[in-house]
Structures are given as C-alpha cells and as structure tokens.
C-alpha cells in the first residue's frame, strides 16, 4: 500500500482519538478564513474609512497646518454658506454638469447607433472616438488650451482665415465654463458610446427579426424596440456622468485657474484652494462633506432608478 494512504489513515485515527477535531463543515464560518480579506481591509480602513471619519470630524473643528483647534460646531458650514465664492462654485458645478451630461449622453447614443455594425470602418471610428478617453487631464487641457488660446490658437487660426475673431473661450467670463465643457466632452465621449454599444449588442437579434416580419419600418423599430431596451443604460450613463462631472477639477485648474473672476471655479477647485492654498482645513473639510452629500444623492438616485426598472 502507498504511503499516502497510510499517512491519511494515521491522521484519521488521531482525530478519532478524541482530540477535538475542528468541525468538518467546509462552509462553516471560521475566523482564519478572514485572513484572505484582512490585507485589503487594512488599507480600506486606514486609507478610506478612517480618513472619511476624520474628515467629518475636521469639518466641525477649526483646523490649519499647525494643528486641529477647538470644536466649532457648525461654524465652518455657516461660513461656507456665507461665502459668495463657495455658492458661486456650487452654481458653476451644476452649470457645468448641465452643459456636459446631456451632450455626452446624446452624442454617445448617436455614435453608438451609428457605429453599431460589424464593419472595419465602424471599428476604426469606435477606436478613434474612444482614444481621447485614455489621455490624462494634463494632455487634454494642453491640447484645448492651444486650440482656444488667443492669437496663435487653432481656433484663432481658423477664424483668421475668414478674417473674424474667435470667441475668447478662456478669458470671457460667460464663455469660460463652455470652453471647459467642450474640452470635457471631447475627453469623456468614449465611455458613454461604449456603454451604449454594449447595451445595443445585448438586444437579441430575434426581436429585430420578429419586428421585420411584422413589417415595422426603421423608425418604428427604433422607437418600440431599440429605445426601450437601452433605457436602463441611458439612466446609468447619465448618472455615471453626473457623478463624474461633479468632480470637475483638473480641467478648470489647468485651463482657466477657475477664472476669470471665479466664473469657472467648481467645488473641488474651491476645496483645493481653501484647504491647500489657504490651509483652512476645517472649511475645506466642510465643503468636501457638502460635495460628498451631493454625490451620494446622485449615487442613490442611480441605485433606486436602475433597481426599480429591473423589477419591471
């Protein structure tokens, strides 16, 4: 007989000898199983949970680079809502979301519908439209500043051919946010397109065949089959983009520095300036919590909207 069997027999009898063998239940809850998740949980707690709690705590205190001062209750929040620039930055952020999100969703849907075919041309365009998404914000803003910059920018050059002056996207307070929005749409368009494409590909072909047999024309097919089957994805895309665009920072900081005269300053840039330029950490923390709540509302809307749809 082979050793292996013998050895397993030995263990076998030793566990019979009355030592309290662990329960054989392979599915039982055991502490040592937690060892697999422990390394991640360490970072989760120290880098996410703890800072989150500390941030909330900070927002109720006077704090600067020299340390955390006394408890001030809601004073930081009161200061925040008394600060014209903060309120302006909240307004700017909402304005920016309004500028970008509908455009991203509709353009993404249009491109997905146009490029949802198995040809090489379509594949080429898909790849091209998505390529800008992999660039970093620095490169994106560099590109668009050199487009918008007066006198020798791309836009100025093109307008120059017609002897007109290009709109001053970066220096006109009324246009600054629009300029940032254009660069952002250029940067972020790939993701909505891809999400719509994968939704379209999940619609079973039989449904279209059935519709064709029912003599539906293309517009009817689009309205009664395609649109309903991507409704969920549409909600998803809109809410992902809302959450994403709420966090506008790099583009504004690099293209306009929030100017002119704070006309393009979003919440995150406000937080950055307050916390890391003026080192008013308590105030910055309070502004962060406001942003957190706004994003949480959007995330919850996503959860409930997609969930209720799923049950139908």
């Amino acid at each position: 007989m082979v050793e292996a069997v013998v050895s397993s027999r030995e263990e076998f009898s030793s566990s019979l000898a009355g030592h309290k063998a662990p329960p054989a239940n392979v599915n039982a809850a055991q502490w040592r199983n937690a060892l697999f998740v422990a390394p991640y949980l360490f970072f989760f707690v120290t880098m996410l949970v703890f800072p989150l709690v500390w941030g909330i705590w900070l927002s109720f205190h006077k704090a600067d680079t020299f340390g955390v001062g006394k408890f001030v209750g809601l004073a930081n929040y009161a200061r925040l809502f008394g600060d014209r620039i903060f309120l302006l930055s909240v307004g700017n952020t909402f304005y920016f979301v309004l500028l970008t999100v509908p455009a991203l969703a509709l353009l993404g849907l249009f491109l997905a519908l146009a490029l949802n075919r198995q040809t090489r041309t379509a594949a080429f365009f898909r790849a091209a439209y998505f390529s800008s998404s992999v660039l970093s914000v620095t490169i994106v803003t560099l590109i668009w500043r050199i487009v918008f910059v007066p006198d020798f920018g791309f836009l100025a050059t093109v307008y120059g051919w017609f002897d007109t002056k290009a709109p001053a996207f970066l220096s006109d307070p009324n246009l600054a946010m629009i300029g940032i929005a254009i660069a952002t749409i250029w940067w972020c368009l790939g993701l909505p397109m891809m999400l719509f494409l994968s939704a379209l590909q999940q619609v079973p072909a039989e449904i279209y065949e059935a519709a064709a047999l029912d003599n539906a024309n293309r517009w009817q097919t689009f309205r009664s089959i395609t649109l309903p089957s991507i409704k969920r994805t549409f909600i998803l895309v809109v809410l992902i983009q809302v959450v994403l665009q709420f966090q506008l920072f790099g583009q504004a900081r690099l293209m306009t520095q929030g100017g002119p005269n704070n006309a393009s300053k979003p919440i995150v840039l406000y937080i950055y300036d307050v916390a890391f330029k003026r080192w008013d950490l308590g105030l910055g923390a309070a502004a962060s919590e406001i942003l957190f709540i706004l994003i949480l509302i959007a995330a919850m809307a996503q959860y409930f909207l997609t969930r209720n749809r799923g049950e139908n």
Partner: protein, 367 residues
C-alpha cells in the same frame, strides 16, 4: 481498500428547511449502491455529506467503524465524480489526475505509473497532454473517472455522472461503468434520478423521496415488491396502473379484488393479512394483456396506441372510466376505439391501502 459505510440517524437542514430527516443506511464493502429519487429529494445532499462537502447537523457517518463526519473532505479517503466533471480547466489531463496525489506528497514515479495505468484502463492514454477544453463530453467524463481512480480511494461517489452525455453515449458509458466496478474493487455510491441507470448498475438501490428513504433493496426487489406506492410509481416504465378496488374478504388463500366495473380478479396476495375494504390495486402493463380469444376478465375501449416495436402499449378505458395501460405484441392488430378484452395476471399485482402500506403476491398461491 474498500469501505463499509454506516450512516446513522443523519439530519441535514438548510436554514429552516430539513432536507434529510433522521436517515440511516448501511453500505457494504464493495457494494455498488445507487441513490434513486426525483430531483430535489436530497440525494446529492446525502452524497455530499458522505464526501464532507456538507456538514452533518445530527447523527454520524462512519467508514469501517471509524467516524468520519468530523474529518475534512480530503482526509476521508473518498473520491467523487461530479455531474459537471469539475475538471481543472487550466491543467492537462495528466495534471488533473495527478493533482490530488501531489497534494499528499506521493512520489512522482508512483504518480506517473498510476496516471498511465488509469489512462490505459479508460482508453484516454493518448489524451494525457490535452486540456479539458480540447476534449469531448465523453472524454471529459473518463478523465473525471480517471481522476478518482488514481487516488485508489476506499469509496467512489458519483453524482449523476451520466446526465451531461447524449443518449447513445450515456448507454455506452453505463455499460463501461458496470465493467469498471468489477476491475476496481471499491465501494461505489451512485446518485441518479434515472431508474434505468439504477436498475442496470446497482447491487442495491436506495429509493429516496421527500427527505427520507422509501425502500432499500436489490433492483428486482424494488421492481417486484415496491414498499410504497411512491416506489411503485417511480420505478418501471410505463408507470404502474393504479385502479381503486374492493377486497371482499372471508376467503382463504389468494384474495379476490373487485374492480370498479364489477370484474373479479383472483390474486396471489394472502387474504389472511388483509382487512376487507377499499384498496388501490397496482398492476404493471406487462401483467395486463390483450386476450386475443376474447377470454379476458374485463374489457376496455382503446384510447391511444404506443408502438414500441417489440411490444405495443395500449391505453384503455374500462367501463367505470378508470384508465389501464395494457401490453400487446409488437404487431398488434388493435386499433383506436376498438373494444379489447383484457386478461390480468393475478400473481403479479400489488395492493396499497390508504396509509400507503403495500401487499404483494406470495409464491404458492394462485393468481
């Protein structure tokens, strides 16, 4: 290297639902035991408790007198063949078979000898360097069996191993399994919901239903002396006929039962053991024949004919409306809507009472 498996008073619950309820069972060394029952009756659960993949809530399981229900699966000296085969997709066939042996530190030359031997026995020697994804369903199934064989376990557990094969391959593999068990001396437990697999492979069958054992017996015992109406229904094809009858009583020898249409049938079931009253009579189609000469005990109208080639099944309706399936020769002349005369073999009938107790015919009594 074989196992006497003793299951005592075992209970298994999933949350509030009891799936196995105080079940006891003894499996002899080298026995081929089949767990048979409808889907969801707890066969797999029982098998997985023996393997150690499910915990035992109450009761004990022992092998050769030693308790194993506290041992982890790997220490029970048992091999299992899964319904989905569960081959490791990224390992070659040889590595699939060697994995378990490597884990317990068996020497490399012994491993390769055993893998080669299993490959030869199962005729998959030429596939040893392939990955499971490159094999057909039948080949995968052999690898799964090979993986069990190389471990030389005390017991083999099979959980519906044939159900993923197409019909022809299933029959062939069934025959091969029957041959295999004579070459590999070991206890085997085989789970299936297919009565033909059970009848053809088993030394003994455990018929399970609804958390408990209905009957344990050899295939012929199960077939000819079903302990409950459930067993009688589940085993045999076509399904046994059930007809409500009255037992007159007051006789000696075989009891006479009276069908709904007034027909008297003399059976070989001892009268002494019966109380007069209402029963359900069970008769397999093979015991109800079309009497060509018109000399049958009763008659019925033909509803449907099923020609199976070697025989013909005839669905008839008796005068009182009860439906009886009868058998006739392959080239039966009967046509739908005919009235046929039926003879009933009283030595091959069963009686069931309201509490599901069964009575069978006994030798020496006339039917």
């Amino acid at each position: 290297m074989t196992a006497h498996i003793e299951i005592k008073d075992v209970v298994k619950r999933f949350g509030a639902a009891t799936v196995i309820d105080h079940l006891s069972l003894s499996i002899d060394p080298n026995e081929f035991m089949v767990f048979l029952g409808p889907s969801g009756c707890g066969k797999s659960t029982l098998l997985r408790m023996i393997a150690g993949l499910e915990s035992v809530d109450e009761g004990t399981i022992s092998i050769n007198g030693a308790r194993i229900d506290n041992l982890p699966p790997g220490k029970r000296d048992i091999a299992m063949v899964f319904q989905s085969y569960a081959l490791y997709p990224h390992m070659t066939v040889a590595d699939n078979m060697a994995f378990g042996l490597r884990n317990i530190g068996v020497a490399a030359d012994i491993i390769s000898a055993r893998v080669a031997e299993a490959g030869r026995m199962l005729e998959i020697g030429h596939l040893l360097e392939r990955k499971p994804g490159q094999l057909s369903g039948g080949q995968r199934q052999r690898v799964a069996i090979g993986r069990a064989i190389v471990k030389e376990p005390k017991a083999f557990l099979f959980d519906e191993p044939l159900s993923n094969l197409d019909a022809a391959l299933r029959v062939r593999t069934r025959v091969e399994l029957a041959q295999l068990r004579h070459r590999v001396k070991s206890t085997m437990i085989f789970v299936t919901h297919d009565q033909i697999e059970a009848m053809t492979l088993a030394d003994r069958i455990v018929v399970m239903n609804n958390r408990k054992i209905e009957q344990i017996g050899t295939p012929m015992e199960i077939y000819s002396r079903p302990a409950t109406r459930f067993v009688a229904t589940f085993v045999g094809s076509p399904t046994m006929n059930f007809v409500p009858v009255r037992v007159a009583g007051g006789e000696t020898g075989g009891a006479t039962v009276i069908l709904g249409d007034g027909t008297h049938v003399k059976t070989a079931i001892p009268t002494m053991k019966l109380k007069a009253g209402n029963f359900t009579l069970g008769i397999r189609a093979e015991a109800v024949r079309v009497a060509i000469d018109g000399q049958g005990v009763t008659s019925g109208t033909v509803d449907v004919l099923e020609r199976l080639g070697d025989r013909t099944l005839i669905y008839t309706k008796l005068k009182d409306g009860s439906v009886v399936v009868a058998e006739d020769i392959g080239y039966s002349r009967v046509a739908v809507n005919d009235t046929v005369s039926l003879s009933i073999d009283g030595s091959r009938v069963h009686l069931f009472d309201a509490s599901d107790r069964a009575w069978h015919c006994e030798e020496g009594l006339d039917g």
